[in-house]
């Protein structure tokens, strides 16, 4: 690149200087350009469909639905990143979701009542949730053991898991769908009863702003402590302002989705409020699945970047031999990625079964494909060692926005799949092209 620049005539140099200035400014903020690009792509997709639909798509209620629909896949994609980064694959995630969702349903309707913990017992849902998370961890751990310690390829182990676990769902319930979950548990699925309300939503925004500013200050102090170069002040302020604006904006957006009219009337009666003309507006705020996605993304990013475990996963993905020779317990590291995946599947299963108020035989079916697609669209490389957790979450939203936008505009589901498949290939193709160009520089 540098060679091309030196021989360039004056006007081009002028243009180059401008583009250099912009690039320099972007570099100063240390924003991940890939993530930034994906955010723009996501916005582009949404506004494209928004215009197609005659300006109906982008409104709070639709966006909340979209995010809730993507939440399970987004949560699982954070774990899939670590699995793919360490050169494995997990095809069984959809079936784990199926088994755990069915377990939640059976625990609450059948098994726990048999032990004397009935649907009326206030902590039943917590017990069920804990057992479900445990089942997820056990399944993941068992598969991880076969992969890491016995040495069976992950593709085979989890392909076996995909088949046998889906069969287990049928065996668990003798082929029947199960419904009737505890009300508290159903909140995990979001919707009208599973949103945290106006005040709590603003509180979340406040906490987020404090956390963003705190993190920026902390990082700056850390770098100062050792006398390392720090970001220019304007960049720090800009980043903080963008972060806080995003948190406040999203909260305001969530708070502008309201309780449906019928329920609002009921709410007014219950709280002794006289309904104003035009109906009472009760803001719903963030639904629980969105908070779970945010929480899981933060926790997983922390694990991946600030803990030894994450460091080892990436180092192993970059060079398994080097990791082994550095004295890392690589087998246990790999097994842990699968345990974590199992737990994340159990969280996704909680959202899925809570939304259904029960479990059918096909909960989570084909999820493995969407989860892998989300991770890959989010920049995770099958060559190992490369991939970020926020990227995968964005990838999940990109894929879901496509599906939602198409179906919103009346495109049928087979066509949606055609588009999703093509987008997957194009996204990865562009990424591969960019990386190849980047590596020759």
């Amino acid at each position: 690149m540098a060679d091309a620049l030196t021989g360039a005539p004056a006007p081009t140099q002028e243009a180059n200087r401008d583009s250099h200035r912009i690039r320099g400014a972007l570099a100063a903020t240390e924003i991940d350009l890939r993530l930034f690009g994906m955010l723009i792509a996501l916005a582009g997709i949404l506004f494209g469909f928004h215009i197609m639909s005659g300006g109906k798509l982008v409104q709070p209620a639709n966006m909340v639905t979209l995010v809730v629909q993507a939440s399970g896949v987004a949560i699982m994609a954070t774990g899939m990143v670590l699995i793919i980064v360490s050169r494995n694959i997990d095809l069984s995630v959809g079936s784990i979701v199926g088994v755990v969702a069915m377990s939640y349903a059976l625990l609450m309707t059948d098994w726990l009542p048999a032990l004397g913990i009935g649907l009326d017992s206030p902590l039943q849902w917590l017990v069920a949730l804990a057992i479900g998370l445990g089942i997820g961890a056990l399944i993941g751990g068992f598969q991880g053991f076969l992969i890491a310690y016995v040495g069976i390829p992950s593709f085979i182990v989890t392909l076996g898991g995909l088949l046998s676990l889906r069969g287990s769902v049928w065996l668990l319930s003798s082929g029947a769908a199960v419904s009737g979950l505890q009300t508290e548990f159903r909140k995990i699925g979001g919707g009208v009863l599973g949103s945290i309300g106006e005040t709590a939503t603003w509180a979340v925004a406040g906490v987020a702003c404090i956390a963003i500013i705190g993190l920026i200050v902390y990082n700056r102090r850390q770098r100062r402590r050792f006398g390392f170069p720090v970001r220019p002040m304007w960049a720090e302020v800009l980043l903080g302002a963008i972060g806080c604006a995003a948190a406040i904006g999203l909260s305001a957006f969530a708070n502008s989705s309201y309780l449906p009219a019928g329920l609002a009337t009921q709410y007014a009666v219950e709280h002794g409020i006289t309904e104003p003309p035009g109906g009472l507006k009760v803001p719903l705020g963030f639904p629980w699945p969105i908070l779970l996605v945010i929480g899981v993304t933060l926790a997983m990013t922390f694990l991946a970047t600030r803990r030894r475990f994450g460091r080892y996963v990436y180092a192993y993905g970059g060079n398994p031999d080097a990791a082994e020779l550095a004295g890392i317990n690589t087998r246990w590291t790999i097994m842990k990625t699968f345990i974590l995946m199992g737990v994340l599947c159990a969280i996704a299963a909680a959202i899925g079964s809570a939304r259904l108020n029960g479990a059918t035989l096909d909960v989570g079916q084909s999820d493995e494909l969407y989860v892998i697609a989300a991770a890959v669209v989010g920049g995770t490389s099958f060559a190992g060692g490369i991939g970020t957790i926020p990227g995968a979450v964005l990838g999940a939203f990109v894929m879901q926005s496509l599906a939602y936008g198409l179906s919103f505009n009346g495109v049928n589901s087979p066509t949606q799949n055609v588009v999703a498949g093509i987008v997957l290939i194009i996204a990865v193709g562009l990424d591969t092209y960019n990386r190849r160009r980047g590596s020759t520089r």
């Binding site: 390392f228 180092a315 060079n319």
Partner: protein
């Protein structure tokens, strides 16, 4: 750090490997080899492909277990069954290619497997970068790229990162397997300077190399291996390159070789 090693001037060799055997199936990759290393000394290990040099060193670095034989570290018999054991005895290995995780940065590589953590158990990247800057400042003062993945670095810089890892963790015994094989002339010179510097700090180095000039330039003693056996260990000053080449090719000491065999080599 490694300055401490300079103080320990012991009569006992740093490392003694006695009667080491390593077999793969029926093949003796290393057959009854004994070798030793003193503080501040470089022992060059030479031989043709498959002579068993790397396998012998892998037994010392913990990458492969010896089937029989004894390893003494500072006069004490020790068992080394994995890389962690070796590191606990201050044995560090610089491999020609396998050394680094390409996708993480230099500090992460220097501390790989032995990260500095805060009291909450989180990675202390600031402290690690700081320590890495200090060590690299000694080894390669021009090095500035502490935040990019090491795959973007030059071969010499990568080797410096690998050596920084060994130096930071007080290596007393260093195994270098073809440290200059992938490097250009300028970078090779850099690594040679590094080796000389490490030597003055009292570190003992096993140097495996195909490059006979490298070996003569840097080593105090030279051990020649041939088909898994040790042909002999000589002081560098007692032999010349022709003698060593003859040993590598014929598997015999020059005085044992017949005149015909030696004559054939000269052609």
């Amino acid at each position: 750090m490694s300055e401490a090693a300079t103080a320990t001037t012991e009569r006992v060799p740093l490392v003694e490997m006695r009667n080491i055997r390593v077999a793969f199936g029926g093949v003796h990759a290393v057959d009854d080899v004994s070798i030793d290393l003193n503080a501040g000394e470089v022992v060059g290990l030479v031989g043709g492909n498959g002579a068993g040099k790397s396998t012998l060193m892998r037994a010392l670095s913990g990458a492969h277990r010896a089937d029989s034989g004894e390893i003494l570290i500072g006069g004490q018999p020790r068992t080394i069954s994995n890389p962690r054991d070796a590191k606990a005895f201050n044995i560090e290995t610089i491999y020609q290619q396998l050394a680094l995780a390409d996708n993480v940065d230099a500090p992460a590589n220097v501390f790989l497997g032995r990260e500095m953590i805060s009291h909450l158990g989180n990675l202390d990247d600031g402290a690690m970068e700081d320590a890495c800057r200090k060590v690299m400042g000694r080894l390669n003062p021009n090095f500035k790229r502490f935040a990019t993945p090491v795959k973007t670095l030059s071969g010499g810089q990568r080797q410096a990162v690998a050596i920084a890892r060994a130096v930071y963790f007080n290596a007393r015994i260093m195994i270098m397997d073809e440290p200059t094989a992938a490097l250009g002339p300028a970078e090779t010179a850099q690594v040679r300077d590094l080796i000389r510097q490490l030597k003055t700090e009292g570190i003992g180095i096993f140097l495996i190399s195909h490059d006979i000039h490298d070996v003569f330039d840097l080593s105090d003693r030279i051990s020649v291996m041939y088909h898994g056996r040790l042909v002999g260990t000589m002081n560098k000053d007692d032999v010349d390159t022709d003698d060593v080449l003859a040993m590598i090719i014929l598997g015999k000491k020059p005085e044992e070789a017949s005149r015909e065999e030696l004559a054939e080599l000269k052609i």
